[in-house]
């Protein structure tokens, strides 16, 4: 299956939909910091993988898909929910790559430059996420 970039999809989102994700992203980053400050890095670190914006992202996917179908005169409720399910399936594969990101940062950060470890681990996340997705599609 071919991966494509559809820039026109950006026009489907309203300003407040971007604002909601910005707010939840900022809020969970603040919360993770405060929790780590109060309970230590052990508990705080758990929240680095908290599904903070997943509910709003999945809802947006379902809403946009439903609107698209309805514009074409079709019933979009089921298709919207299926697209949100596919989004969740993709996120499940991405979370395996996120686990690899966490292991790399944990093992490499103490002895290497932080910027290099974070940049390298992010690249490793992307590469492993794409590889896992391709393997899943091929099976």
């Amino acid at each position: 299956m071919k991966i494509t970039v559809n820039v026109s999809a950006l026009g489907r989102s309203r300003w407040y939909e971007y604002a909601v994700r910005f707010f939840f992203g900022g809020a969970i980053t603040v919360c993770a910091g405060l929790i780590a400050h109060r309970y230590g890095p052990g508990v705080g670190g758990l929240f680095l993988a908290f599904p903070a914006i997943f509910p709003s992202s999945a809802t947006l996917v379902a809403k946009h898909q439903k609107q698209k179908k309805e514009r074409a005169g079709l019933q979009g409720e089921v298709r919207g929910r299926e697209c949100a399910g596919l989004e969740a399936a993709g996120a499940a594969l991405g979370s395996i790559a996120l686990l690899i990101f966490a292991v790399l940062v944990w093992r490499l950060l103490p002895n290497h430059p932080a910027w290099l470890v974070l940049a390298g681990a992010t690249m490793a996340w992307l590469a492993s996420a794409v590889a896992i997705w391709r393997i899943r599609k091929a099976v």
């Binding site: 052990g42 758990l46 993988a49 914006i53 997705w133």
Partner: protein, 117 residues
Amino acid sequence: MTVQIIIRFLIGGLVVSVFAVLGDVLKPKSFAGLFGAAPSVAIATLSLTVIANGKLYAAGEARSMIAGSAALLIYTWLTCQVLMRRRWNVLAVACFIIPVWFMAAFGIWRLFLVSPR
């Protein structure tokens, strides 16, 4: 402290938004979904933690993140299963399954990552 919270909020919001926009423009949907588990909060938090508390402290957070990531895998898999099988509201499903993330994250962390005393 207040300035630090504002900086955390702005950087976290920005990094999460960048990954969310990437997820918006990519097709097919299952591929775009990968960005629903992007290390956006981790990049923002760990960068600021290294500056504020040092690399060892940040590495400790990354170690616990392994449990959080495993919990995210359980959460997203379960959400997918429910959305594909039941005709329930997407937002309600995604929110009601969040307690599963908490149980899984703390359970895995307690079982495998907390050193016995």
